[in-house]
Symmetry: C2
Amino acid sequence: MGITSHDVARLAGVSQPTVSRALRGDTRVSAATRAKVREAAAALNYVPSEAGRSLSTRSTRRIGVLVTDLTNPFYPHLIAPLHDELERLDHRMMLFTERTEAAVAADRLLDRSIDGVVLATVTLDSTLPEELRRRELPFVCLNREGGSPSSDAAVVDNRLGGEIAARELVRLGHRHIAGIFGPENTSTGRDRELGFRMALADAEIALRQAHTRHGPFEFETGAKALAELLETTPVPTAVFCGNDVIALGALDTAKRASVAVPDELTVIGFDDIPMASWAAFELTTIRHDMHEMARAAARLLVERISGSADSAEPRRVVLEPELIARGTHAPAAGN
Amino acid sequence: MGITSHDVARLAGVSQPTVSRALRGDTRVSAATRAKVREAAAALNYVPSEAGRSLSTRSTRRIGVLVTDLTNPFYPHLIAPLHDELERLDHRMMLFTERTEAAVAADRLLDRSIDGVVLATVTLDSTLPEELRRRELPFVCLNREGGSPSSDAAVVDNRLGGEIAARELVRLGHRHIAGIFGPENTSTGRDRELGFRMALADAEIALRQAHTRHGPFEFETGAKALAELLETTPVPTAVFCGNDVIALGALDTAKRASVAVPDELTVIGFDDIPMASWAAFELTTIRHDMHEMARAAARLLVERISGSADSAEPRRVVLEPELIARGTHAPAAGN
DNA sequence: GAATAATTTGCATACGTATACATAGGAGGT
DNA sequence: ACCTCCTATGTATACGTATGCAAATTATTC
């Protein structure tokens, strides 16, 4: 079992290298031979061995994708277009949903079974980027970025997104504003918070310590944080969430606590995942083009691998966010 | 660039085969040499080439996973535990979210770059299972099953699940019952419908043609189908959905149409995905252990590959479903 | 102390493909 | 008719690891 190019060669009456050349469209092989080889290959159901090819070419056309948690509703919307774009560029996707880090995880990436890596959930304090750089394995950051120094990345202008959210809340007359931000060790968490804070400061509105929460980009973060925020005085009339998933958690708590949204509480998310537009939520949020971001990451990486990247310098694709007004925002009560 | 076992051998002052043996814990190598080799390997940051190893051992410890659509909220809950169990069994996951079928898709599976396949979205009329069987590539069906003849599979007793849903509706006194089923060319769609119909028939309750809809296991299916069902007379007082995602779509339409759930309309889903328990939905549904199902599939496949499967006969793991009563079901109005 | 057994290591090679280089054959020019 | 040049193909080998078998070393036994 296992047809090789030698078998095809024997049947076609040519040498093995000729088979290799014929099947990959090498122009130096005559049309007649090419036809003969094609026919023999088809007759034998020949499929070239990927391992043999990899060993010889030192390239696998395989990309590793690192995500911490697939069940987070956000990531599939990144993974799916990423997969499709990689496929379009004739690459396959290997999925790693690692919880372990650096050294441990690195070994499975460094066995030359992949040509490059997409880091979709890298943290600012992760040593993985420098480890990959040291081992000269090409990689690109998607959605989040690592710490210094910068690398190829496809991201959103998160700071601007935070500012947009803040300005909208200010415009609506909110004065008691809360934030349920993402983790401080992620670029998305940090930058969205930063932009939000700066825009509030510009409007001379305070974001109290008591109205600030941080946590993973998960449903439970929003659910738990809003429950706590509802216990503070004054109760905030608006809350900006680090992403939609957190916002959905907040909405969950609001519903359970019978807090009317948006009449009593304005909620703004970030990302505009499809769920945000469901009737059950009608979440006002900051949209960006997640699909394009994923596709851009795929292209950056493949170009880097193939050496067709214009320069050795890191290249960044930065997408513009915009406000999507739905049903969870309203003017502050009493305005 | 690219440290090989030869480099390690040179540094340790032994032959390349000895390096191979030492690092893989072959007992025939002395403790002293093993230590020497380990040290040299560590000093050079040696990581064995996966391609070289695959070529030699004819095994990749890589598993292909086929899913049509990752953005469907159901699948990540299958993929995540599947990944983790495969990882536990020392295998890696290659993800294929193919839309193409059979011949085209098959080639990327047949280049010996994977040792086996998990089919998570196989249809009853797919020729892929027989193609894989013919090419002797081990595979297992997860959640759904293919047509004849049966293969290794980890599935739910969908027929029983359908029956449980039907009996509950009957118990609640519903007489005008509708069904938004999944695709008829999937085992899950077919069996859930079958069990549901049979239990209704036992109770001598008709399921009218006009109250029956089919479609992909997607949000839009439920949304669109319920909109249509609300136009029928008599309007159904209860609807059983092929899975939770369809049910969420139905709830979406109900909300937009101001149909009170559960007072005016009972909705029952299938799967019990985490979202079902969110306050926005509180979906009554048929639960089964998705994580265990995924893990079982991983084990079946790896055992099949390693040849440790007890027999050549197909092996099936069938999980029991149960009713999870939440907030979307109630007695029929007027009972 | 010699013969034998057991242990440890090296040698040769297989795995399947791609490619640098050599070569054979044919076309074209004068 | 001879030389040149190009095209098409074959030969030899590299890629990195694992393994059957032989060889060398050490331990064991009588």
